[in-house]
Amino acid sequence: MNKKILISDPTLRDGNHAVRHQLRKNDFSTYCKAADAAGVPMVEVGHGNGLGASSMLVGECSLSDEIILSTARENLQHSKLAVHAIPGFCTIERHMAMALDLGVDVFRIAAHCTEADITDRHIAFARKHGKEVYGVLMMSHMASPDHLADEAFKMQGYGAEGVVIMDSSGHYLPFDVSERISALVEMLSIPVGFHAHNNLGMGIANSVAAVQAGATIIDGSARGFGAGSGNAQLEVLVAVFEKMGYETGIDLYKILDAADIAEKEIIPSLPYISSTSIVSGLSGVFSGFIKEVNSISAEHGVDARDIFTELGSRNAVAGQESLILEVALALKGDSSGEAR
């Protein structure tokens, strides 16, 4: 039985969601140094929605991709530098080629869980240039285990070296995770991974369930710093996996130090499970919507929880932030006469 787990650390990518993509240059250099020292194998950095995603739609980044990547690259000697990239937001020529030039080691090409076939050329590009590349399926609760396995299989066909499924809305219970991870493990001949969100307090439990079902790649953020209620808490994962007898290659004390540093210097407020995020988790709406929903809710006097429930029933997917205002206005009963 494979006792090794590859931990991928998106503190500086998913965490950017929590601060509306305003992480500063110092944040990147400080945390990268600490993660590198702790032996974290893979450090993922960037705008919350990945390469090229800085936009009005999902929020403008305080720093350009170029600055983020070069800062991170300078401060990672042993850890691999990874980026998240969603075709439709980022292009090969304008974004991926730049990332390649700046020394990115790992590309994680992501699509909504039913749309894997948009990732063909982007995965092929990374492979062509000899880089490590994974396929990522987002909002994975929106597909059945079999369908998810079919989509993952496509990514394997395109050349992905592993497929990670994300619980982007923090919707899963452990059994949901085991079901899906098992389906992928059965279908694929490449490693399978899991990325948790903590909206229903299941970050760690779900990650453990994933590993027990055969996942060998797990995402975790320092103090859980990430969208919504945050991700699986990285240093807790390391401790738990160590206790379970798995090798992560990460030094426990040093990752605890890194998390302390993150708490002290880069995380403005620690993730917690708010009332809104419980509702968004239950309705299966992307965690990254929370800040926007809260702000629109405040502005228009509409209950954020109602907005989430309605977004859930409309099967809103990541990138549909413009739907939030539409839903809020509709709930408010706003008839300005021009919207039809």
Binding site: D117, D150, F153, G157, Y158, E161, V185, I190
Partner: protein, 353 residues
């Protein structure tokens, strides 16, 4: 194109031909149509025809049907000759074949796994609809001596560590989309049976395993091409899994020669495996490639699924082809790799220079 590269191909063709005694005689005067002729096999067959005609007075005519022929023509100017005709034809649309054709070879199926993933319907249309159109066209030929369906060993392969025999039927869960390609090959073979039985045309099947050699793109989505590409680009050779999966490889000139031999001398209704003899793991291939390079790339294993160790070895049992048609490989694995690498590096040089 580089004269040296052509010389290599010529030598390779003659080496393979030499081992199939009598084949040249059997090919003389034939009128061959290769459907999907601008691909790997079609191009090697064109090379063979050119050499046989020039060296042995073969008097063979060859027509290549492809979806687009202008690119092929510009890549192979030495093959643009009077005895090789190019024609644009999308196989999904009904078409006719030159009336005096004696050998029809269907080589148009889509084998690219990326396309299987992204456009399975097109794969079905081409692999099934395309061969249906080809069989119809062939059934109207007064002098047809053989219709050769180049099928795939994947039609009957399953999870195995054994050499795959022609007699494998194999269980296929056709309800899963992943199996659509294998299913399309099975359906195509069935169609060929129907035309043999009802339309009384002489049909024969070749099941292709893995081919290697010049005229294959380094960007083609198969492991060995990726390894070659990684090596040429100076990158690490990245192997998915633990590298133990085994394949065998048949060199282009051998593959084309075997297919022609099967077409002229095989038994109607029979199935023949076409592939390399030596089963060799991805890991061994990678090591062999490293030996061929001056700058030694690293070999990186990118990890495998935690599932029960299913094996998807893919190599043929060649006993039938050997005993009935005396099929022989001129190029073993080592030579095939060397010749392929030589061609790819010359190609890149001539592109840069």
């Amino acid at each position: 194109m580089n004269i040296n590269v052509n010389k290599q191909i010529e030598e390779d063709c003659l080496s393979s031909l030499k081992l199939q005694i009598g084949l040249v005689e059997q090919l003389k005067g034939q009128s061959i149509t290769v459907i999907g002729g601008t691909g790997f096999i079609g191009t090697w067959i064109a090379e063979l025809v050119a050499i046989i005609n020039d060296t042995f007075d073969g008097n063979i005519t060859l027509e290549l049907l492809g979806r687009s022929t202008s690119l092929w023509a510009s890549k192979h100017p030495h093959l643009c000759r009077d005895d090789i005709i190019l024609r644009v034809q999308d196989v999904r649309s009904p078409f006719s074949i030159r009336e005096d054709t004696t050998l029809v070879i269907y080589a148009a199926a889509i084998a690219d796994p990326s396309i299987h993933a992204s456009d399975p319907y097109k794969v079905y249309q081409t692999n099934v609809g395309g061969i249906e159109n080809a069989l119809h066209a062939a059934s109207r030929l007064p002098r047809i001596a053989r219709f050769l369906n180049i099928s795939s060993g994947l039609a009957v392969a399953g999870s195995t560590t054994e050499a795959i025999s022609e007699r494998n039927i194999g269980i296929l869960d056709y309800t899963r989309i992943q199996n659509m390609y294998a299913q399309s090959r099975r359906t195509a073979e069935s169609l060929a049976c129907i035309f043999a039985a009802q339309f009384r045309i002489p049909v024969i099947t070749a099941r292709a395993f893995t081919f290697i050699g010049p005229y294959q793109s380094v960007d083609a989505p198969w492991a060995i091409n990726n390894f070659i590409r990684d090596t040429i680009n100076g990158n690490d050779i990245r192997i998915r899994g633990d590298g133990s999966t085994r394949r065998s490889y048949l060199y282009g000139s051998d593959a084309a020669v075997w297919l022609l031999k099967i077409a002229v001398a095989g038994k109607n209704g029979d199935i023949y495996n076409v592939g390399g003899e030596e089963a060799i793991s991805h890991s061994e291939v990678a090591h062999a490639l490293v030996k061929l390079c001056k700058k030694k790339p690293d070999i990186v294993f990118t990890g495998k699924s935690a599932s029960v160790d299913r094996k998807y070895d893919f190599f043929p049992d060649l006993s039938y082809g050997k005993s009935s048609l005396n099929l022989k490989q001129a190029f073993n694995m080592k030579l095939s790799l060397e010749r392929s690498m030589l061609w790819h590096s010359k190609n890149i040089l001539s592109q840069k220079g």
